[in-house]
Symmetry: C2
Subunit: 558 residues, 2 copies
């Protein structure tokens, strides 16, 4: 592992002591694990199928913690492994710190190892033993560079065998996977495999993603969402100020966050841009591409009539999946790619790949494909990730929208309905926010999630997601628990195959955040209600340093 150079701020942050929820404060020895009743699955579809696949880990009860004495746990020595899986999120290192401290608190002989580069580290026997000395420099820092991450998916029997062999040889008792929906699906699958094989080895997941889409009626939010949206809001807020100062540009800003529009919604609450596109709303209103363009163009024309040839547009990374004709096109491309992986991989030129795919889809869709700019078309057929997801971050939707809007404005100009200069500037913010130094909220939350995961594996629980509730209250009042992973699963089609996956959460159009957004957004369109939230503050007044997301605040408000 490379040595780490730390900035002055990181040095100061290393002194920060995360605040633990009250129940965790004295460690596993003083916690009684209580199995509650079986809880309702998130989805009511395909539960029979899920139960069939997860014979040994389906139907587990929810877990809560109560004060109590648990001396047996002190005598046992365990070896736990941790991996990061998928994209970075601020707070990852604090999960490891919490896990490490939780394991060591109860028994100094407990061991934590970290597999390098995600789950593939297990397959390749690449790991490091974690000590206070090596971990110290990473406390409250951003990034996953301590043990790095990966996107390997475990699905073949060869892979399962390798994991089993590695864990038996290395005497690993439990695995903690820090990941998003796909990685926690993997956690569930590995937990089931260990249970089926009767290996007495446990798997626990930790909810990580900046996208904010790993939440549901049991999980309030994932760690990383708070910090990442604060970083994006800093940038968007600065651009709003810039727009309002120079008053001559239209900034089209796409924000990372995969399909769901949670990131855009949260950043909109913090900055009040003029136009905010929400994928889920576009889908529910069945808005065609030309309707979306018209909505944006109408506002540009209206502002221009007020002498305001400037503004800010927020675009979710995943918008393209929500526009009906584009959605249909993507589903069809996915199917063609899924059914012709080998053939397509052997076609060298992008033109020919597009041509091949067009030959396998309806003429309506093939016409649509051919009407798209070449850049966009080639981005649509680019490689999928190992979970079958299209890599939305690579599709420059913001530029595509600018081109479409520009063309529409030119038409209006010819008709004499628009006479100003349209000066657009495009941005995509994503990588900038995944490795920020975690906010106080994420530093506390991720640390508690890791500590909580330690309690779970020490108690021999498997197939669970580490879970913390009551997050809008002070950390001391947070409630610690665990939700069975299979409770959150449903069957989904991924590259033409049905797979059990943990359900991603989309923006709920009946939910409080969206309803509040609807109430506010009309004011933002023609005015300059811009807000500049500024950079994350770690020191200073508590209303600035400790507040979590507006989304969570709205959701928890009665």
């Amino acid at each position: 592992m490379p040595r780490i150079d730390v900035s002055e701020l990181q040095v100061e942050r290393q002194k920060f002591k995360p605040i633990l929820p009250k129940i965790l404060k004295n460690g596993a020895e003083y916690i009684k694990v209580v199995k509650c009743k079986f809880i309702e699955p998130i989805s009511n579809q395909s539960q029979y199928e899920i139960q069939r696949i997860f014979k040994n880990t389906y139907g587990f009860p929810e877990i809560v913690f109560r004060k109590g004495i648990n001396i047996a746990i002190k005598r046992k020595t365990v070896k736990v492994a941790v991996v990061f899986s998928g994209g970075q999120a601020p707070g990852g290192h604090n999960v490891i710190c919490g896990l490490f401290d939780g394991l060591k608190k109860v028994n100094k002989k407990n061991i934590l190892i970290g597999y390098i580069g995600g789950l593939s580290g297990i397959l390749k026997n690449e790991f490091k033993v974690i000590s206070e000395r090596t971990l110290r420099n990473y406390r409250n820092t951003g990034g996953f560079d301590f043990i790095t991450s990966g996107r390997t998916k475990i699905e073949t029997s060869e892979q399962f065998n390798l994991i089993k062999e590695e864990f038996l040889r290395n005497k690993v008792d439990a695995l903690v996977i820090v990941g998003g929906d796909d990685s926690n699906t993997n956690a569930a699958v590995i937990a089931e495999y260990f249970a089926k094989e009767d290996l007495n080895k446990y798997v626990v997941g930790v909810p990580k993603t900046i996208d904010g889409d790993l939440k549901n009626k049991y999980i309030e939010t994932s760690f990383g969402f708070d910090t990442a949206t604060k970083i994006y809001a800093e940038l968007v807020g600065n651009i709003c100020k810039d727009v309002n100062s120079s008053r001559k540009y239209w900034h089209f800003i796409r924000l990372m966050g995969r399909s769901a529009s949670h990131v855009v919604l949260e950043v909109a609450f913090k900055t009040h841009p003029n136009i905010v596109l929400i994928g889920e709303e576009i889908l529910s209103k069945n808005m065609t591409l030309s309707k979306v363009i018209k909505t944006v163009t109408d506002i540009i024309v209206k502002r221009s009539q007020l002498g305001k040839n400037f503004g800010v547009v927020l675009i979710p990374e995943g918008i393209i999946e929500f526009i009906p004709e584009m959605r249909e096109l993507l589903v069809n491309i996915n199917n063609v790619i899924g059914n012709n992986t080998k053939i397509i991989s052997e076609i060298y030129s992008i033109d020919q790949k597009i041509e091949f795919i067009c030959s396998k889809i309806s003429s309506k869709l093939s016409n649509l494909m051919n009407s798209l700019p070449f850049d966009i078309a080639s981005q649509l057929i680019s490689d999928r990730d190992p979970h079958g997801n299209i890599r939305l971050s690579l599709i420059e939707t913001e530029k595509f929208l600018i081109n479409m809007v520009h063309a529409k404005l030119l038409k209006l100009r010819k008709k004499g309905k628009y006479q100003y200069k349209f000066s657009p500037i495009s941005h995509f913010f994503g990588y900038e926010g995944r490795c920020g130094i975690p906010s106080n909220f994420d530093a506390n939350y991720a640390y508690a999630l890791g500590y909580n995961a330690a309690i779970l594996v020490l108690n021999g629980l498997t197939g669970y997601l580490s879970n913390i509730k009551n997050l809008t209250k002070f950390p001391k009042q947070w409630e610690c628990c665990a939700v069975p992973l299979t409770t959150m699963m449903a069957i989904e089609k991924r590259i033409s195959k049905n797979k059990p996956v943990i359900q991603k959460s989309m923006v709920d159009l009946q939910g409080k955040p969206f309803i509040n957004f609807i109430k506010e957004r009309d004011k933002w369109i023609l005015n300059e209600d811009y807000i500049s939230p500024g950079p994350i503050q770690y020191f200073g007044p508590s209303n600035i340093t400790n507040m979590t997301t507006k989304t969570l605040q709205y959701e928890k408000k009665l």
Copy 2:
């Protein structure tokens, strides 16, 4: 003017009281202005010409302040106007606050007005009277939205007449122009005009630019550079962490800063990226485009041989002006545009514009032009700003370099010398940093510059740049003075015409910052010495909140 919505952080920042240099603390009444000796011009070229153009304002002495009694100033009532000119820089509002407080401290009846939208506000008689009530919400905030900015250049006799009429009618005694090199050139020209016309009206400039290129042996730095480079460094540092966590991408990051590479150099000091291109070095080594590409590609290949298919490249916005053949091309395009403005403006299609320009330059240059990707070629012939500068921010050099590097790697791959996947991601950071909430340094510095400008105009000085020295010391120890604007001027060719302009400062290859950079950069190439400085902190330990740029620290170190 639009109403202002403020974030929680801005509310807290409004409570921040900038620390004044000791000499300014009691206001103009207790300051004696001392005229020092005539100081050497920055450039020793074309001084005769400068003297000829600035007959009434050339050869002024430097000004310093000493403790003393100046009661006369208290009895006089003045009306001062302020304008923002050019791009935004963090701290602009604090210049106005310092100016306002400095004027009011000595006489409550003094009036400050702000012309709207830059110098064009004077021509259009658009202004607002500034009061504590209207100013309060803008103290220590980013942006120029309080009175907005513009890029109008004053050069025609009609414009000069309009300014004269406006100032006579509106009874304005003095004008403070907050701007960069071109805007301060304008300040010098207007000061000369007022002096020539014997109007008894004064003009003072304030050094503003995030680019860091308005500095010289008299001026230590401009306000805004500190905050902007801290914001860019936050983003680059986060990306470095991301790169080191996922270990699969090469990020090519272009940073705003016009021709000079100061911004890139400062951000490099703070983040330690693998490859840092410095325009001035490329020029001095006479590196051709293919040599630049080879330098980058060689490092990518070397890192790849170590299993490191990832890294970070920093690219100055202005790099293209420093590559010899590109420089020659740009100079020639500028001349063709300058000599054929009307003809070119009447050519509708970009293809035909390129064709026309190619017909007017040598066949070598026309071949180069035709070898460039269409995007880049069309960006090269895009409109110049009113000062004749090419709008470098619009040229996507980072993508151009990626394409060239990619092509080179493909060739190496065919020869079996490179066998890995090259996954590049491009970024351009500029607008994100121009309107950030000013750092403590910029909040103090800009406030002091404004306060200092108030002392200058109250004392009837004209043709000066407000100047503060000793900036690496505590604000109380800062020294206040003023440098004649004409001292910093030379004759330059702008769109084929010779013009007197304030000299931009390029990175000095013999200067301490660059020498320190040379010492360090080799370590960064093959290692991951990345540093994540994190976001600007306004509260907390002083080593985090009050340090200014590494550039200034190196420059001031003995």
